[in-house]
Point group: C2
Chain length 340, copies 2
DNA sequence: CTTCGGATTGCATACGTTTTCATCAACGCT
DNA sequence: AGCGTTGATGAAAACGTATGCAATCCGAAG
């Protein structure tokens, strides 16, 4: 009914109590049963809800979390956002979403923006930030955790899957499958995930005395991955297996192998991805891939972040979550492996 | 350096001016060149940035937009979010993101939450809301625009593609292609988009004196669409064309036809989708589909919303944006159509 | 009946900004 | 020189809430 915004003072007047009483009822402080009843009744009648911004001013806690995401092409991120949002909402937090592209200077200003909104914490997903910025966060007492990307600086938390181990598992799997010429279309080498997966892969190969046929940076994008596939298959000694740095690129590789090149998978080439996004299970792709456990990663992210918010003295953590290889139809399966 | 939060008063003291002067410099009000210089210098030294929440309290404008999204499985929504975020950021707005699932009572409370954060406006994407709630928004003077979903209530804005017309176009296309038994796996009939596309489709069929072989509600989800595909193809008179209510379901239909059923597309069955998400252009699917122009829809959404924010007297609008049929390989193309 | 203690309550202040208002200096014009 | 005009500036109020502090109330214990 009322056009104007209704404040705690309006409620107080209608209920015949002081403004502080109203505040106490809604902030859960102690109040007599009688007041609570009167206040609730008046509030319901006026449709009153406390102003979160005013509340944030006084308490110093906005209950908002800044979420900085580079892009959403890769299905992994929408999924992660969905889960993260649910987890945070369940704990009474809200998400201030920022899309950052991948320009470093853009990030800088955007993060500053976030801070002016007094967010209680920041999650960056697949985004690299300058150490200057992390220090600034630390100085302002804003906890920061990097999701799915590590960084060397000491003072910050990160949650990733066990990328090195994952890369190694893939190498072992492909070697066990009897592949002779194994290539790698790597994740973007500017990101720790891409580098770590590659490192693990190379270690796994080396441990068996093997070397990759070739390694090409696919930049985590579709087009470069397609080009890389062509480049690999045009060689005189084309690979009989390709490990691709993430599922998003692996789909492009599969499309190219089967479509433009008319090859059979896994008959001519085995393909293994990384992530296990839902689409990897779709019949058209049926992609063998190393699963990143989104749920557990999100859970850890939220836990770490809120932990640091509630207890600022808590030290930053770097958590790695192990994932397992999901066997599907895009890669030859070694004897006996499917029983595992 | 400083652990504490730095306020305009700190800057004022360092610059040797009053707090109001600092405020004026940062809010763009008039000030002498001398003061501006002093204030800027002091602010830079302290790393001062105005507190957006305090600013919001006083101006009554938080420069935050609430974005309520049901789910992100369908690639159309991540894409839309990405665009919308960019457009809003460019105009100095920020996004408060809420995931709402599809439970009606969940929406209710979540929207209330949004309002306590004093958002300047709300965009709902693919979400239905009670008329009670729209009234409450109106009463609080919070503009609301529904993205990709219409609703009959008079007082609210919505941006959709021209769904009826789109459905009709698909019908005409499939009829022109000489298909004899045309079926429809419809979008969720609880949503206006699903109903409108179906209505247009039926109108188009009727205009040619035809009737659909069958119509099944696919709920906009993958599983129901797969079941519907099986149900259709098990008939004694299976369809030779299927119009699917959106791309997300169409991918499931294609997977099922080609995979489990071993059929050829478009040899045995033509398939047409709706949305034209990027994935529709991928080689594996190569889906003929009716394009929803995301960019223009987002542009219109932002325009409408900000228009209403700046001028509250502006009337709500229902905007429909026409899309065109994108011809690809999943449906037989009528003689001469590809030249269009 | 008095006194003590704990639970409630109201008053006033604080949070960090924008904005109105009055003051003041400077300046051009008659 | 006097006067009005303009532009800059500081003091103070306001936004809507939480909370420390003092006052008050109530019942129970003595």
């Amino acid at each position: 009914m009322s056009d104007a915004r209704v404040t705690s003072l309006d409620v107080a007047r209608l209920a015949g109590v002081s403004q502080s009483a109203v505040s106490r009822v809604f902030s859960g402080a102690s109040a007599s049963a009688a007041t609570i009843k009167k206040v609730r009744a008046a509030a319901d009648r006026l449709g009153y809800r406390p102003n979160s911004l005013a509340r944030a001013m006084i308490t110093g806690k906005s209950r908002m979390i800044g979420l900085v995401v580079a892009y959403l092409d890769n299905q992994f991120y929408p999924l992660a956002i969905e889960r993260m949002s649910a987890a945070l909402q369940a704990r009474g937090y809200h998400i201030l979403l920022i899309m950052a592209g991948n320009s470093t200077e853009g990030i800088e200003s955007v993060m500053q923006d976030l801070m002016t909104y007094q967010v209680d914490g920041i999650v960056t997903a697949s985004v690299a930030i300058s150490s200057d910025l992390t220090e600034r966060c630390a100085a302002m007492g804003i906890p920061l955790v990097m999701f799915n990307r590590g960084q060397d600086g000491a003072g910050l938390s990160s949650i990733t899957s066990a990328n090195v181990e994952g890369g190694r598992k893939v190498a072992e799997f492909l070697i066990a499958g009897g592949h002779e010429r194994i290539a790698h279309i790597a994740g973007w080498q500017g990101a720790s995930t891409g580098r770590d997966r590659m490192r693990g892969f190379l270690e796994g190969m080396a441990a068996a005395g093997r070397e990759p046929l070739a390694v090409i940076d696919g930049m985590y994008h579709r087009e470069p991955a397609i080009e890389a596939t062509h480049a690999l298959m045009e060689r005189s000694d084309p690979p009989d297996a390709i490990f691709v740095g993430n599922d998003h690129m692996a789909f492009a590789v599969l499309d190219t192998l089967r479509g433009a090149l008319g090859l059979s998978v896994p008959g001519d080439v085995s393909v293994v991805g990384y992530d296990d996004v839902p689409m990897a299970a779709w019949e058209s792709y049926d992609l063998t891939t190393l699963r990143q456990p989104v749920n557990r990663m999100v859970e850890a992210t939220v836990e770490t972040l809120l932990g640091q918010i509630e207890d600022p003295a808590r030290l930053p953590q770097k958590i790695e979550i192990a994932g397992s290889l999901i066997l599907r139809g895009s890669a030859r399966i070694p004897e006996g492996w499917d029983i595992t």
